[in-house]
Symmetry: C2
Subunit: 125 residues, 2 copies
């Protein structure tokens, strides 16, 4: 059967809060060796996303606060969506990761092109 | 037949020089919307790699020069290697891109997990 977002996503999601400062966000990415941090509010709902690329942009454009560099309109996936559909959505927006959310906008997973390339290649051998 | 690195890599490679400063590197990533910059020396040979994650690390650890944050021991691919082998190599090192080099250590392409996930998914439909 077809692979879906729920089959490949990581459920152990590292997130940031809108009030975090840039250095804390940077430290989190470095400690965990990751590139994508969904930003969640006090209710645990998705409020934005920040990636290592946004931190590069902070350097390029002398930004100092998380609200200045995070993306608020987040491209997401639902866990029952097929991987083909999700990959095409990521390609369209030139992004390499999507938070997976439920109907209540809670973050239940994260799915990146790293995960997808490994799964698809691993699956073929 | 099997997909090889040369089938999927981008040949139009944006690179950095070891003497570039961090802000120039950051500006390049932002202008081109990319995450990976092979670093090449004056002979055009591969000397290192710097990614948006390294720039996040510059913020986290207060580093200010490219030599302090670039990676000198680069994981590479050759254009005739199969994608399966290259993906496994990337997974092993937790990296999302590899420069493709020739036998003389010239950079002839770049291959990322974004490219791979798009190709493999695109190829299946
Ligand atoms: C155009 S992408 C290219 C660089 C890199 N591949 C990445 O995904 O961040 C960079 C921008 O996309 C944004 N971005 C990344 N993932 C996103 C997502 N799932 N939804 C909305 N924006 C996203 C980041 O916040 C950043 O501002
Ligand atoms: C462990 S990875 C994780 C974050 C991100 N996915 C990335 O690839 O940069 C981060 C480190 O890997 C290094 N790196 C990335 N691509 C590399 C490659 N092809 N060869 C060697 N090191 C690489 C970067 O310079 C950075 O210091």
């Amino acid at each position: 059967r077809e692979l879906r977002a729920g089959d490949i996503m990581s459920r152990n999601v590292i997130t940031a809060k809108p009030s975090d400062d840039i250095k804390e966000v940077a430290l989190k990415l470095v400690e965990k060796g990751i590139d994508h941090l969904p930003v969640v509010d006090e209710e645990g709902k998705l409020a934005g996303i920040v990636t290592s690329w946004d931190l590069a942009r902070a350097i390029a454009q002398d930004k100092r606060r998380l609200e200045e560099i995070m993306t608020r309109r987040v491209i997401v996936a639902f866990e029952n969506e097929s991987i083909d559909v999700v990959v095409r959505r990521m390609a369209q927006h030139n992004i390499s990761g999507v938070p997976v959310v439920d109907r209540m906008n809670n973050v239940i997973g994260i799915l990146t092109t790293d995960d997808i390339s490994r799964k698809i290649v691993g699956g073929r051998t």
